[in-house]
């Protein structure tokens, strides 16, 4: 079957409460009999983490097949997994380190390249050095990087591009439940009576998960679906209720839904009294959000708000999913917390079919968060809790003062600002492409071009970002190295090495370990700080770091992960099979000695002090965080009368380094487009396919118009299209040319979804 045309594949409908049937998807470049061997892995082209086997012939990857026995995909793969997971492997790869000379980048030995990095690193204060990593590496690599940064070098400047995709999921979970950790399970799709998708175009972002939903929808006793999205998408077209709020108004809509839940007596007051804190303030905050007022702020129908709230209030089992429509919008953390609140108000959590999936955008984003390779500490530890710092100091055998913990680790937007100001002038970027993915690209290019910046870029390809580097390190990619990663529902998979990396490329783990060796990082006894040399040894060290923490991996082994299915953490001696759902007992990790964070004021991001937090006496209860709607930092004006949002195509991932090198996917979506409503297109005199220019106060890009899809006043542009394969002289194609440098005060996630622009025919 052509899965470009049929994105979600053949339906396998089934009844509520029954297992999702298997359907094995496969794509092979050779006849099946010619495959030498199949190597276990899981797909890294979205956050779903579909288990698969890689087909190998003559030392090359030649295909991929879904693993039937796995809990995540039951054999399925999406178009990206089928057509882009391995097809890039021999195209345009970096095979040697490169170093910059006055003539540009030239080939170098590993010794020369690493020698140069170490020389630059050694001559700088740790606070002048930053690391910007990814949601694409393996757990073992993130943990190694985290130990290097926090216990070796001692810099707080470490974050990942996960800041752009998943930071709000983590922040909302911390604010409500005290710690990160996905409450729900994908199996809740099989059990739910109602499914709410908040800012989540699942049909494009996690196509296999959407197949799972479609198989319920086409079976008997289908769940009722409610979608919140300003665009028309396959999800909203299927939904029983589609709420299309104006970009930036999510918080008003959420307050309206909670208002209706309270107003119509759908609140389980007994549950709220026993398991939550903050009901009175929440009720007072939402009191004025009558459906009529919400309709006015959000530009939706009051009746639809009432209807959606009634569905939430009356359904026995409700599952909610949340993604970038909330995370990358105004009041991101506040609005995402309200989804948690809806569930807590009805006590719908920790039970089959009930719960919250605060989704991720990337395959290994969960690990960036757990391992502390982003703005967190390893093992969901609390930077403001001295006991947690002591635990890490003991584990790593270093002085506690070595570990930067005077403030939260530096978030990416601030890290880039320090580079902009020159106070960070050593930046090491791994497995991400900020020259296309960060907001306001004209500004990012200026920063990357700074004379005083020493820039290291570690990647599989010479990306748009690598062009600016002083040293480029060639990295092994998926299938060329071994490691584990954890999907959006806490399920851990092992990805084995199937083939050798090209040329002299090395795994990211080996590169980080080489740096640590050359820097000669030592512990308090003078022993090497990092005692491991293989992925499995790194995994064993990580297990010790998680023991007793919410993300407990202590019961997992590589051997266990070689079984039929991935395993969800926490996985301990007491729960060797892992854990489907968190919070079955409605006891939340909010105890002051346990929690990952003491919380924030949602308006400003001001931290709650330990004393104030302890005085709340949370005792395992969850927080019902409240906040009124506020105006977004940028809104339309006469000069910029439309609001732009950015997002994904089902055929591409990130900046297309892999999917753009897949013939099928490149053909499916070769170029950027600009989605306009019919009304706006008519007013602008734009016809389908016309080249249009989208321009903000900061920058502009051009693409072909697609008409319909967006609500009037809203423009949508996919963010995948950078410049590595652009034709000479073509106009700018990256959506981030026009986006703005603003972020949520709590999660620090950039606001990509509310950008004032004007559009005209190019």
């Amino acid at each position: 079957m052509n899965r470009v045309e049929n994105i979600w594949g053949v339906r396998t409908p089934h009844e509520r409460g029954t297992e999702w049937p298997e359907r094995v998807d496969q794509e092979l470049a050779v006849a099946e009999a010619e495959v030498d061997r199949w190597v276990q892995s899981a797909c890294v082209l979205c956050s779903n983490g579909c288990a698969c086997d890689i087909a190998v012939k003559d030392g090359k990857m030649v295909g991929v097949r879904g693993r039937a026995g796995d809990r995540i995909n039951h054999g399925r793969l999406g178009p990206k997994g089928l057509y882009a997971s391995w097809q890039w492997s021999d195209q345009d790869r970096l095979t040697h380190p490169l170093v910059r000379t006055s003539e540009g980048l030239r080939q170098a030995t590993w010794d020369e390249a690493m020698g140069r990095i170490v020389e630059e690193s050694k001559k700088r204060h740790p606070l002048k050095q930053g690391f910007y990593t990814s949601g694409q590496l393996f757990l073992e690599e993130y943990y190694t990087l985290a130990v290097i940064g926090k216990a070796g070098l001692g810099t707080p400047h470490m974050d990942g591009n996960t800041r752009l995709c998943t930071a709000t999921a983590a922040a909302a979970l911390k604010e409500t439940f005290g710690s990160d950790g996905q409450p729900g399970s994908y199996e809740d799709i099989e059990h739910c009576d109602a499914l709410f998708l908040f800012g989540h175009n699942m049909a494009a972002t996690q196509t296999v998960l959407w197949s799972r939903v479609l198989d319920r929808v086409e079976g008997p006793d289908a769940p009722v679906i409610v979608a919140v999205d300003p665009r028309d998408t396959p999800v909203t077209r299927l939904a029983d209720v589609h709420l299309a709020p104006l970009p930036g108004s999510n918080q008003a809509l959420m307050n309206g839904l909670i208002h209706e839940l309270i107003e119509h007596g759908y609140v389980d007051h007994d549950y709220v009294a026993r398991h939550t804190i903050g009901y009175d303030e929440l009720a007072a905050t939402v009191a004025s959000y009558e459906p009529k007022q919400v309709a006015e702020i959000c530009g939706v129908n009051a009746v639809d708000v009432q209807h959606a709230a009634e569905i939430f209030g009356r359904s026995e089992r409700v599952l909610s999913t949340v993604l970038q429509g909330f995370y990358q919008s105004h009041q991101a953390t506040a609005a995402s917390c309200q989804v948690n609140n809806l569930h807590l108000l009805r006590g719908l959590i920790g039970k089959p079919g009930c719960g919250v999936l605060q989704m991720n955008g990337q395959p290994t984003a969960e690990n960036t968060r757990e391992c502390g390779a982003d703005g967190d500490l390893p093992g969901f530890r609390n930077w403001a809790n001295p006991q947690h710092i002591d635990e890490l100091a003991k584990l790593w055998n270093v002085d506690r003062l070595k570990i930067p913990h005077w403030a939260p680790p530096t978030h990416a937007m601030q890290l880039w600002r320090y580079v902009d100001q020159g106070s960070i002038d050593f930046l090491w970027i791994s497995a991400t492409n900020p020259a296309v993915s960060l907001p306001e690209l004209p500004r990012i290019r200026d920063i990357l071009s700074r004379e005083d910046l020493f820039l290291v870029v570690q990647d599989g390809f010479l990306t748009e970002t690598a062009q600016y580097a002083d040293v480029v390190l060639p990295a092994a990619l998926w299938g060329e190295k071994q490691g584990t990663f954890t999907n959006a529902s806490r399920t851990v998979h092992l990805s084995e090495q199937a083939v050798d990396p090209p040329g002299e490329a090395r795994s990211d783990l080996d590169i980080f370990l080489d740096y640590a060796r050359r820097m000669d990082f030592r512990d308090a006894d003078g022993e090497p700080l990092i005692g491991w040399t293989t992925p499995e040894e790194a995994f064993e060290a990580w297990k010790e770091c998680t023991r007793g923490r919410p993300c407990d991996y202590s019961g997992l082994t590589y051997d266990a992960l070689r079984g039929a299915s991935g395993i969800p953490w926490p996985c301990t001696d007491d729960a060797p099979e892992g854990t489907d759902r968190l919070y079955e007992d409605s006891v939340f990790p909010t105890e002051p000695e346990t929690c990952e964070d003491y919380g924030h004021d949602l308006l400003t991001g001001g931290s709650t002090t330990p004393e104030k937090y302890k005085a709340l006496n949370p005792g395992g209860r969850a927080f019902l965080k409240a906040m009124p709607f506020t105006e977004p930092p940028e809104w339309i004006s006469s000069a910029y009368p439309l609001i732009a949002t950015t997002g994904r195509s089902p055929y591409h991932f990130h900046t297309r380094t892999k999917t753009g090198r897949s013939p099928q996917l490149k053909q499916a979506e070769p170029k950027v487009w600009v989605e306009l409503s019919a009304a706006d297109a008519a007013e602008l005199g734009v016809a389908e396919g016309n080249q249009v220019r989208v321009e903000s106060a900061r920058g502009w890009m051009e693409g072909a118009a697609r008409i319909g899809g967006a609500r009037p006043g809203v423009v949508f542009v996919p963010f995948h299209f950078g410049y590595w394969d652009a034709t000479e002289g073509a106009p700018p194609s990256a959506a981030n040319e026009f986006t703005l440098t603003e972020w949520d005060p709590v999660s620090k996630q950039p606001i990509y979804k509310v950008v004032a622009v004007r559009v005209r025919k190019a």
């Binding site: 204060h125 707080p156 601030q414 106070s423 400003t604 991001g605 001001g606 931290s607 603003e742």
Partner: protein, 151 residues
């Protein structure tokens, strides 16, 4: 009665806090979070000035009884660079602390009168002042090491 004196002091202090937040936000526009939040918090302070006006009318402003050295703290203008931002945030912190303790004084007096309406206003405004202080402290703690050691 000096309650009116203190209401005048609070009125003036909230006014200068609103102006100071506004000015710091404008002059540090290269720090997007500072720019945005300073404007939000400036509006909060301006809202407090509004909230005070019925009580200023009720109790009057008796400036002639004002003790010599009782006057509102003032903001001396913004600076530039990493350390400049730090100092500006610190000035805001001092100003907001002054406002905070002045609300405490007025709140105590409101209980003595007693004036339930004023007490309610003190409660909500002081909670917002506390948010301002908490954000300032968070941002100052974040900025200090970088500004003092490597900027």
């Amino acid at each position: 009665m000096h309650l009116s004196t203190y209401l005048g002091l609070l009125h003036a202090s909230e006014n200068s806090l609103a102006e100071a937040f506004d000015q710091v936000g404008r002059d540090h526009a290269d720090e997007p979070d500072v720019e945005h939040l300073c404007h939000v918090l400036s509006e909060k302070a301006a809202g407090h000035v509004e909230a005070l006006s019925p009580f200023v009318t009720r109790y009057g402003v008796q400036r002639e009884d004002e003790p010599d050295r009782l006057h509102a703290a003032e903001f001396g203008g913004t600076r530039t660079g990493g350390v400049g931002l730090l100092r500006d945030l610190q000035d805001l912190y001092v100003l907001a602390s002054f406002v905070d303790i002045t609300w405490t004084v007025v709140g105590q007096a409101a209980q003595g009168v007693p004036d339930a309406e004023l007490l309610k206003t003190v409660g909500s405004c002081q909670a917002e002042t506390s948010t301002q202080l908490s954000w300032l402290q968070t941002r100052i703690k974040q900025a200090a090491p970088q500004a003092l050691i490597v900027a």
